[in-house]
Amino acid sequence: MGVEITVDGLTKSFGRQVIWQDVSLTLPAGEISVMLGPSGTGKSVFLKTLVGLLKPERGSIMIQGRDLVTLREADLYEVRKLFGVLFQDGALFGSMNLYDNIAFPLREHTRKSESDVKKIVSEKMEMVGLTGSEDKLPGEISGGMRKRAGLARALVLDPEIILFDEPDSGLDPVRTAYLNQLIIDLNDAIQATFLIVTHDVNTARTVPDNIGLLYHRHLAMFGPREMLLSSEEPVVRQFLNAQRQGPIGMAEEKDADELAQEQAEGYEMPPLPPIPLQLPTSDGNARPTQRPPGEWCRENGVTPPPGSFETHSTAAPRSEPELAS
């Protein structure tokens, strides 16, 4: 079962430039959370701070009663063994073939015999659908394969927390759909805590149990999926529905004049699209941490947009690729 991560009052800046400040959230154990945000809002920085690669100026990150921010370097390496991280381009070691890459953490941290290593590596490679590519070098395979190999490497030490840095960047919609399905099935199988950093709205709408939105140097909102998908908050609404109208501009946030003009023109945001069903596992079951559709809305007295939670409701304003079931 996964591990809970509690982030409190986290602030990170490079020099005088504040990346984000006062970020507080709890990633519930065993659940899938997505961190969304426009490009350049420090999503990847947030992820790297969570594993202790970057030191925040203020705040704490509590994992199993230990604060990652104040931990000594040696203890930090210990805590990191709880983590598996999928980096944007897989971050495979260029000088090793896929097999050695995936076997690397096992050879470094365990005293397993070579035959045990082979067994585990083959199992993980099969899990991500890479059987038969053991001898290829990272430079010889496609971006999607590199991501999957990076995922297999992140999985070999049976991590309690898995972080995904833009798993869908640079992938076509079909591959993204397959990868999302893989994430769901993985969560069902190992029940680790997942955090996905992305700016892909489709992923955010259908995959996670919780959504967070980083915007304008702070965490705009973090909560259950249905809370954000039914939210009337302009920033959340604009981003989750991929619209131009709203507080987010091309460069950063729109200035007051622009917003006033938009309002003066009497523009109203289009109605909220229906909330799609959450992606089930590939055998059609719900994951242990998955909440029944509409539960949050009922408990909090929120009326979901019409057409929500219907089996064939459109998943997003734009067409979504059909999943192979």
Binding site: G15, R16, K48, V51, L53, E73, Y77, E78, R80, K81, F83, G84, V85, F87, Q88, D89, A91, L92, F93, G94, F104, P105, E108, H109, G150, R153, L157
Partner: protein
């Protein structure tokens, strides 16, 4: 950060911190024997040929200069001794250092920089492996080993080149040249030459690793890092060379006094 003086101080501080981290990681087990051997072989293979090629004309220039100078001073019998002294004390550690920094250091910096921007270093840290212990320590040790060995090579090639130019081209006496070797030079000269090579090898590798591990901003960042690492290493080498030489003359009195 905007103040350039503060930035420079911060950089030097981080460089020293990396140096200390390397020293602290030295006794940590498991020692990366395979990486050490691979790196030693790699650094040796990129430096041996250029070093040999540079040291021949270097030895020759010293021989020519000294050949004329000693004749002007009427001290022809000391030609051999003076050229050995110049080659072993100064020329060979410097030639070694320039090539270790230029060929070995730039390769180390480019390699680590490329790994950094591909997030391989981050991935390594997340997998619970300290890149300093895993990557930097073997490189620093390899560079020190190769520097010491190269220094020996340069000394031999330089002295042989000096002999060739003095005896064959300037018509010096072979016997006098060889016999005068020990007139001015002494064994500590060789020791200090090797010590310098050792220190230069460590410096070149630490600066290269520091610049490589802090590369940023895509492929251009790696290029910049390599460039800076070579320039910084050269500056440091000459400064450190001066300090070691000054201390050496205080500690070991020159022969014949």
């Amino acid at each position: 950060m905007s103040n350039p003086a503060v930035g420079a101080l911060r950089q030097s501080g981080s460089l020293f911190a990396l140096g200390l981290d390397v020293v602290r990681s030295l006794p940590r087990r498991p020692f990366q024997t395979k990486e050490f051997i691979q790196q030693s072989w790699f650094i040796a293979s990129v430096t041996i040929l250029p070093t040999a090629l540079v040291s021949i004309p270097f030895g020759a220039v010293i021989a020519l200069q000294l050949g004329n100078l000693t004749r002007q001073l009427g001290a022809q019998s000391f030609t051999g001794s003076a050229s050995v002294l110049a080659v072993i004390r100064e020329a060979s550690p410097i030639v070694t250092a320039l090539l270790i920094a230029g060929a070995g250091g730039s390769a180390i910096c480019a390699d680590l920089g490329a790994r950094k921007i591909r997030e391989e270093i981050d991935a390594m840290q997340v997998l619970g492996i300290d890149p300093i212990q895993r990557l930097v320590v073997p490189r620093v040790l390899a560079s020190m080993l190769v520097a010491v060995l190269l220094n020996g090579l340069v000394s031999v090639v330089g002295v042989a080149g000096g002999y060739f130019f003095n005896v064959v081209l300037q018509g010096g006496t072979p016997g006098a040249y060889l016999a005068s070797f020990t007139a001015l030079a002494q064994l500590p000269d060789l020791y200090v030459g090797e010590l310098k090579a050792l220190v230069f090898g460590a410096l070149a590798a630490i600066v290269a690793s520091y610049k490589g591990l802090n590369a940023g901003g895509g492929p251009k960042g790696v290029g910049d890092a390599v460039n800076q690492s070579v320039v910084i290493t050269f500056l440091l080498l000459f400064a450190v060379n001066f300090v070691i030489t000054a201390i050496y003359f205080q500690l070991v009195p020159p022969k014949g006094q």
